[in-house]
Symmetry: C2
Subunit: 339 residues, 2 copies
């Protein structure tokens, strides 16, 4: 229909869509006007067979991730879908058995049967088989999370260290000196990064970190036990690696008749729904997840369009949201700062 309308051959219309450089500008313009007038959209299945592109981006939904990621995942997924859709791509959501060969088999199946053009990977880890498979097949991918990524890869991540450092800066400004860090057991990229931000900021403020680092699994009760010794030792503020850990801190404070926000300042991480539901409201570090979703699609499209471009990495800054749990000047502030 488009060919007839613009008085060219069907091959010329196909070239206009897929290799516009091959046409004379005036011919291209004529075909474009006809396409617009007829509201012609090539059917994706027909285009897939011709161009071997499905315009699908694969995204594996994982249940294991939801401890950390769950409550806020919706924002990420919505931004991802919106950005992909704007560029004419769809997000193909799929489940796979996490880890091991069965997982990579699933990726291979999607490449074979659906010609998925590219993937966005979350929760990559050391020993993850997925990046290797995709590299071998020359399939573009972007990792959200940089801990298993190589320098030669595209990734998007949130600067966790910046978030915990911002918390320390804020607390030091309120007069706190003994600022503890409540993290997860060492060994996770995300957790170690958040600890590093605290440690470096403490040094910058010339504050000692000795005895101020405690850890627990991401569980309220484990966190409660991990921090209870800190308060008799004079700790007046706690920066936690997650909101769940921070709320364990609330419990320990209440158990010892201390009041979060008044007697001891508490800052969490992730700004989950739970943070705002607590009393006092929990201060927390908010990750820019909509921006992260958009950035993942942006890097992926750049890679699809230019497979040999330099790898690009985007590190986004999180934002400290100050609420009542860390809003007031320290109660037992020493007469002279630093003492």
């Amino acid at each position: 229909m488009v060919a007839q309308h613009s008085g060219v051959s069907p091959q010329t219309v196909s070239n206009a869509l897929n290799s516009p450089d091959l046409l004379a500008p005036e011919t291209l313009e004529r075909v474009r006007r006809s396409i617009e007038k007829l509201d012609y959209r090539p059917h994706q299945a027909a285009r897939s067979l011709r161009t071997k592109s499905s315009r699908l981006i694969g995204f594996e939904i994982q249940l294991t991730a939801f401890g950390v990621f769950g409550p806020v995942m919706a924002n990420f997924l919505h931004a991802l879908s919106e950005s992909a859709n704007e560029a004419g791509y769809g997000i193909l959501l799929f489940a796979a058995p996490a880890g091991g060969e069965e997982e990579t088999d699933r990726y291979a199946e999607l490449l074979r049967e659906r010609s998925v053009d590219a993937f966005i990977l979350t929760n990559t880890y050391r020993g993850d088989r997925r990046p290797g498979l995709l590299r071998k097949r020359g399939i573009p991918f972007v990792a959200f999370g940089r801990w298993s990524a190589r320098d030669m890869e595209d990734w998007v991540d949130v600067d966790g260290a910046h978030g915990t450092a911002a918390a320390v800066d804020h607390l030091a400004g309120l007069g706190h000196r003994k600022i503890a860090f409540l993290g997860w057991p060492r060994g996770s990229g995300v957790g170690d990064d958040r600890e590093r931000g605290w440690r470096e900021a403490m040094l910058r403020h010339q504050l000692s970190v000795r005895g101020l680092r405690v850890s627990a699994t991401d569980d309220v009760d484990a966190a409660r036990k991990a921090v209870e010794g800190l308060f008799p030792a004079g700790v007046t503020a706690v920066v936690a690696a997650s909101d769940a850990l921070a709320l364990g801190c609330y419990r320990a404070l209440r158990d010892s008749s201390r009041m979060p926000g008044r007697d001891v300042a508490v800052v969490g991480f992730d700004d989950s729904a739970a943070a705002r539901l607590h009393s006092p409201d929990l201060s927390s570090v908010r990750q820019p997840l909509r921006e992260a979703g958009r950035s993942c699609v942006q890097l992926l499209l750049a890679r699809i369009n230019e497979p040999l471009r330099e790898p690009e990495q985007i590190l986004l800054r999180p934002e400290l949201i100050v609420r009542k749990s860390a809003a007031s000047v320290i109660a037992n502030r020493p007469a002279r700062p630093g003492i």
Copy 2:
């Protein structure tokens, strides 16, 4: 390759895949063995052009929904993907401007360009244009949520009234008589259903509901204000339409030096992550969202395979999770029940 291997024509192979009834059983068996031996999988784009089926199920991700649905959506989406994948279908995630013509245009575009086979709709509402469009085009869909569905449609929902009734049964069993309901403003299908469960259970236990129904928007602070008058009036238990409302109740209790779980029992709804992070742990009604995801796919596949079948509806029962906020026998239990 398959045709050569099994000594039949390519058309016969195509029939074996798409219209197996046309073949003699022994021929079908021969082709099947070859397919298995060669590990042949038809490419989806080729199959789409032939059968006009993309084996894609569309799912619109909405941000508006996340107040209620967000924290637990991950479970629903994972179950949806897993069930669809097992049946050879993919979930196409997409964003659309909520409501109005732009939204239905997006659905029409996905039908035109991607030949999406079917849709799962969430957050349907009275006046929703999507079901009408899909009915007109003869596109199978299943609604998760029954409030705008017609009797002639397939839907899956969770029996909210059963959940709040279970909460009343439990509280009445502990000796509570003045059990209030803290709901949203009237007019939402979901909210009114949860209220109905409370009301009917109260009547069943021969308890008065007079003055025991209060409402607030889904916000901790609005909820706190809505309930503060209840406790001086002798209310000893509150059933809330959401966890956020229930946690507003915690605030009101603390403000008046009452202790949730000891002085007044509180039950929420949704069993969000926040429920377990609070002290005392919040009792809450848990929706079976994995089962809901699986049921949506099950109904959709049945409809795709048999377009003229009777409409089917699946109403799932939620489960009351009893935690410390509603675990103990009422403190000021009257000497004789009913007084």
